[in-house]
């Protein structure tokens, strides 16, 4: 396995070096926040997840040892787990309190359906595992090896999730009337 570009930085963070802390936040926060926003489709919740993810980093940095995955894969896994906790809670809340799902497209005050909004909604409409795979490979620009390690699946399984995810996205976007 190739060298981990974050290893030395994480070691310094573990030693409590303030400059290393700043560098790590500058390097990882945009990635972690983007991952959480796309997983949850909710910017405020994504910010909470990002803060929690960094707390985990501070707690574990001094003990972090590279096993099978790079630090970037580890923090992606942590962030995804935090997102899943919130998605579960949201699902329980929706199941408990709302008798039926509300279609946001039907709301009279809905913003004009821009492409980004359609894609965001389409992403929320596919299976979470497919969403994870697409976000990691497409948006986070992870290699297939790192994405598979993060998801703890084989490369074949990753490619299957990606293909099915892209097909589902295409179908949803076509239904949404946005396909050209």
């Amino acid at each position: 396995m190739s060298a981990d570009p974050d290893e030395e930085l994480v070691r310094r963070v573990g030693a409590g070096d303030p400059a290393a802390v700043q560098t790590l936040v500058a390097r990882k926060l945009p990635r972690i926040l983007a991952l959480a926003v796309r997983m949850l489709g909710d910017a405020a919740e994504a910010e909470d997840v990002a803060q929690e993810a960094f707390l985990r980093i501070w707690r574990h940095a001094s003990r972090w040892r590279r096993g099978n995955a790079r630090f970037d894969s580890w923090i992606h896994r942590v962030t995804l787990n935090l997102c899943y906790d919130r998605l579960r809670r949201k699902r329980e809340w929706v199941t408990d309190d709302l008798p039926e799902m509300v279609d946001p497209a039907a709301l009279p005050d809905a913003h004009p359906q821009e492409d980004a909004v359609r894609v965001e909604r389409a992403l929320q409409g596919i299976a979470p595992r497919q969403r994870e795979a697409i976000i990691l490979v497409y948006y986070q620009e992870m290699s297939n090896i790192d994405a598979a390690a993060t998801l703890e699946i084989s490369i074949d399984a990753l490619e299957s999730l990606l293909s099915r995810g892209r097909r589902s996205l295409q179908a949803i976007l076509a239904r949404d009337g946005a396909d050209e």
Binding site: P18, V25, V119, N144
Partner: protein, 156 residues
């Protein structure tokens, strides 16, 4: 799709690529070869200019363009600042905890030293023996060693 491919392998190694594999990769990774598995990019680039290759990439590129439209704003300064503040609090608290444990450890070492010292003193110091035994005149192996009454009687 490659059968039985492991995570460590990452991708296939064969240099040539057929339309089926090319289409499978485009369906999974999209139309930008930079996102494809590193080991298959070269073979993909060789196949890409073909008519079939171009058609496959065009199809995949349509969805890519849609996905690219979904951008996420950069983190704002407030979030950045609150994460750094939380880090500061965490490391200060950790230092305090370390000092606390250090103090507790030193106290423990001191206590252990005191206990060990006491134990050593009790082992090394010989048991204080009296200079002589004061024997009870009656405490003999034969019990009462007072003059024998019978003997007295005989004397009489």
């Amino acid at each position: 799709m490659g059968k039985g491919k492991t995570m460590a392998e990452g991708s296939r190694n064969e240099p040539a690529m057929d339309a089926k594999r090319f289409a499978a990769l485009a369906a999974a990774y999209g139309g930008d070869l930079r996102r494809w598995p590193e080991a298959e990019r070269m073979a993909g680039a060789i196949f890409a200019p073909s008519e079939t290759g171009q058609a496959i990439l065009r199809h995949a590129g349509t969805l890519d363009a849609r996905l690219d439209s979904y951008r996420v704003d950069a983190p704002d300064k407030a979030l950045h600042g609150s994460i750094l503040q939380a880090a500061g609090r965490h490391f200060v608290q950790r230092r305090r905890q370390r000092f606390w444990w250090l103090g507790l450890g030193l106290a423990g070492i001191g206590l252990a030293g005191a206990v060990a010292g006491l134990a050593l003193v009790s082992i090394v110091t010989p048991e204080v023996q009296p200079d002589h035994y004061v024997l009870d005149a009656n405490a003999t192996a034969f019990g009462d060693a007072s003059p024998d009454r019978d003997a007295i009687g005989e004397d009489l």
